[in-house]
Structures are given as structure tokens and as C-alpha cells.
């Protein structure tokens, strides 16, 4: 992909990222951080791609370690965020 397209995606994503969380109450800081934390677990996709391309045992070993860690990050992150938010259920402001 050409550099200009990537730069555009990057800059626009920065603005969207700023915009979506700019007015969040302190009550939700923790779950929001935890949810964002889970989202960067999609590095799992990158880990799978490098595992797919691995040729030596070293590469494969490192890739598989990355897959384990990324899975923990992603799945654990979403589960723990859900547990935090479960506490808020049935509450109306």
C-alpha cells in the first residue's frame, strides 16, 4: 500500500481516537482503559501472520509465544471488561 494512503488512515484514526473518548466520566475510565487494552490484543492477527510465514523453529517458537500472549491480552481483556461493566447493569442515572 502506498505511503500516502497509510498516512491518511493513521491521521484520521488519531482524530477518531481523540474524538470518541474526549468526554468520558471518571466512572468509566477503568473499563474504557480495559476495553482499549483488549482491542490492542488484535496483534493476534499479526502473530498469526508471522507464524504462517515461519520457516525455522526459532521463528515458529517466537511466533507461537506471541500468539499465546496476544490471545491472553485479547480474550482476557474483553472478559474482564465485561465483568467490570456487569456491575453497572440495571442502574439508571
Amino acid at each position: 500500500m502506498d505511503a500516502m494512503a497509510i498516512l491518511s488512515i493513521f491521521v484520521l484514526s488519531v482524530f477518531v481516537g481523540f474524538e470518541v473518548v474526549s468526554k468520558v466520566s471518571s466512572t468509566l475510565h477503568t473499563p474504557l482503559m480495559s476495553g482499549a487494552n483488549a482491542i490492542h490484543g488484535v496483534i493476534l492477527v499479526g502473530a498469526i501472520i508471522v507464524a504462517d510465514h515461519s520457516e525455522t523453529n526459532l521463528e515458529l517458537g517466537l511466533s507461537l509465544a506471541a500468539i499465546v500472549l496476544a490471545t491472553i491480552n485479547m480474550v482476557g481483556g474483553f472478559v474482564v471488561t465485561d465483568r467490570m461493566l456487569e456491575m453497572f447493569k440495571g442502574q439508571k442515572k
Binding site: 484514526s13 473518548v21 468509566l28 482491542i39 490484543g41 488484535v42 504462517d52 499465546v68 500472549l69 490471545t71
Partner: protein
Amino acid sequence: MSRTLYDLIGLAAGIAFILALKGLSHPKSARRGNLIGAFGAGLATLVVFFYASPSVYGKAESSLPLNNLGWILGAIVVGLIIGVPAARRVQMTQMPQLVALFNGVGGGAAALVAIVEYLNLGSEATTAQVVFTVFTVIVGCVSFSGSIITFMKLQELMTTRPVVFPAGRFVIAATLASVIGVGGWVVSALGTTPLLVLAALSLLFGVLFVLPVGGADVPIVISLLNAFTGLTVAASGYVLDSVLLIIAGTLVGASGTILTRLMADAMGRSLFGTLFGAFTAKAQDSAGITEDRPVRSGSADDVAILLNYARRVVIVPGFGLAVAQAQHTVRELADLMISKGIDVAYGIHPVAGRMPGHMNVLLAEANVPYDQLVEMDEVNPTFGQTDVAIVIGANDVVNPAAKTTPGCPIYGMPILEVSNAANIIFLKRSMRPGFAGIENELLYDPKTMLLFGDAKSSLTKVVSALKAL
């Protein structure tokens, strides 16, 4: 699957992440937002198995089914076996450190991916690809080791106070300089040994970066490292030619940066001061003077009598409430007081507990009505008309030193002004100072009464004493 379809599904996952962050910003939509995010992540992961990756970082195009498919699926299962029970079983009080740990392993994963990329970068790799790969190794390692240290601080495996050693700032500066220097070397001359040196130095820098941060500021650092990890994911996306990773990583990086600032503001800290204050921090001289002064401790009956004749009571919960799992008991006490016609409110400090919003989550679990939770700015002016303020396992968030003692670690943090109430009751386990490690003058105030013991058993005694009246 065609490249177009693959990218379209990647775009859909990216949109899911935006909606997830948007949803997580509002109480009503938060849970749904999280589920949308999980859906997006699941979708993105699933699709990889149906698309033969193009040639990336010097590797030939792949074919379906994926190479090493069995190993890949096995590793995912291992991750699930470790991650899901950890997230399911963790106690509410330990959630902050689990989030820190999850962030750390994410950073570690990004660093490992970048190391594998680096091992394969051929002569046809562009300078930008090399730079982004090296960037990911550095920041991923910093995020990994930094998060492990925050985990150890929160788990109290090590001291929660700032760790400052002689010439610390020079060591940190020198380490950072060598990380940058070796990074440049690794970019200019591809080689495995320099890369390992770089990874080791980056890990060391992560440790040094977090060590001097005081306990109360740890959540801010976790949030910052979270943003760091996001950026590494974006950089990996560039090298691996994945639009999805670029979008997801950048979103987390940007929103994480804003969130870090919001958290710092909520705590009345400057972000710069939090991160670099430690470089100039001096050893605390808090010990000594105050230790032998008398305090007034009372019994559960004394507390019950005080409450029985109060018209307005404000409950100030803190980490001690979470540790004792006393949220249901405190609600019982509040309900009892309300039935006696006493005006009851909970004064919620934004960073009471170990993380912003910790108390809201805890009290929500006990079904405390939302309108009884009053935020700091609203509750502070009412302490003048409050007969009794009950501080349950909180310390730093009511410590007047934040206003009166320049130079102490919490100076400048807004506090709950319980000292304006007519009477103050502290439920404490011991005279030990709070997480920030600072003596609290309020404990020695003549209008303060201390009730020692575990918050839950103390509250249970107060409830039965109050019922008997």
C-alpha cells in the same frame, strides 16, 4: 478469499472498534460497546485463517491452509486456557493489576512479532519497514517490562512508594540514550546480536521508567503504557500490510493518550509531573514526628450512637472497603440509617481505590442506588452541613496534606474535604498510612474517632449496635 473481501472485513472490524470505544464512553452503552469490540476482534482473527497472506517483510506469498495451522490453533487454545479463567476468577480488588498484566503481555506479543519480522527482513526491505520494526521492538519491550513493574506494585509484591536511587535520573537518561543509539545501529546494520542488545536495553528502560512512579500514580502509567502498546500494533500493521492493525493500534494509541490525560486531570496531577517528577523526587521524611501522638479510638457502640443522632451522614469508601468486600454491609448500614430518617450520601473520590471509578463499580455490585453516589465536586460543599463523615478504608483521598504540604507525593490532588464535617469516623485496619505512604494529620484531629478492625466486621458490629438503639 480475495484481498478486497479481506480488507473489507478488516474495515468492518475497524468500525467495530470505533463503536466499541464510543460505547464504552457512556454508562448505558458501555457493556454493548465492549461486546461490539469483542465481536470485531473475533471477526478479524477468524478471517486470517481464510486468506493467504501476501508476501510481507521479505517472505513469499503464503497459501491456504495456513502453514503451521495446528501449532497456531494450539497456541490460541493455550492462550484461552490461561486468559479466560484469569479474567473470570480475579477479585474486584485485583482487577487493576490484571489489566496491567494483560497490557504487558500485549506489548510482549507485539515485540515478539517485530523480532520475527526483523529476523526475516531481507535486503529488499524499505528503510521505513526497518524503522517501524525496530520501533515496535523498543516500545513493545518497554510496555512489557513497565507493565510487569506496575503489576508488582499493585499486587504489593514490591514497595508501592517511588523507588528513587542515587543518580537515578542519569541512569534513566543514559539508558534512554543507549536505547536510541543502539536502535539507530540496528536500523543501519541488520543483525541478531544488536537486536537482542536493543531488546534487553528496552526492557531495562521500561523497569527504570516505572520504578520511580508513586503508588497513587500507577493507574496513569498503565493507561500510558496501554497507549504505547496501541502504537506498536499500528507499526506492526504497517510492516505486515494490515489496514486493520493500523486502524486498531492507532485508535488505542490516540484514545489511550487522551484517557491518560483525563485520568491525570481527575487526579489533579500534571502528566509531565507524574512521569518525570520522580526524576527529581527526594526521599520522604514523613516518619518520626507524628508516631507517638494520641488518637481517639472508639467502639462500634460509640459509632452507632453518633450516627443515630446525626441528620446527615456522608460515607467515604476507599480501597479498604474493596479489600474487606464490605460493599454489601455498607449498603445495609446506609439503608438502616435512611430508614431512621438520616440523609445519607456516598462521597466518591474519582481515584478512590486503586483505579479511577473503582468505588462506583464496587458499590454498583451491591446495588447501591446511583443517585446516592455523589461525585467529589458536588459533595465537598456539603461537608459543612454534614454531622458525620464515615471514612471506610480510605486515606490518601481525604488527606489534607494534599493541600497543606507542598512537596509531598499527593500535593495538589483534589481531596474530599471531610475535615469540614462535624465528626469524622475512620474505619481502619491499623495506623498504617495509605497507598501513597504519607501520614494523615486528620487521624489526630480531636473530632476524629477511629474504629480499628477489618471494615466488614466493624461495619457489621455498627449495624447491629445501631439496630439495638
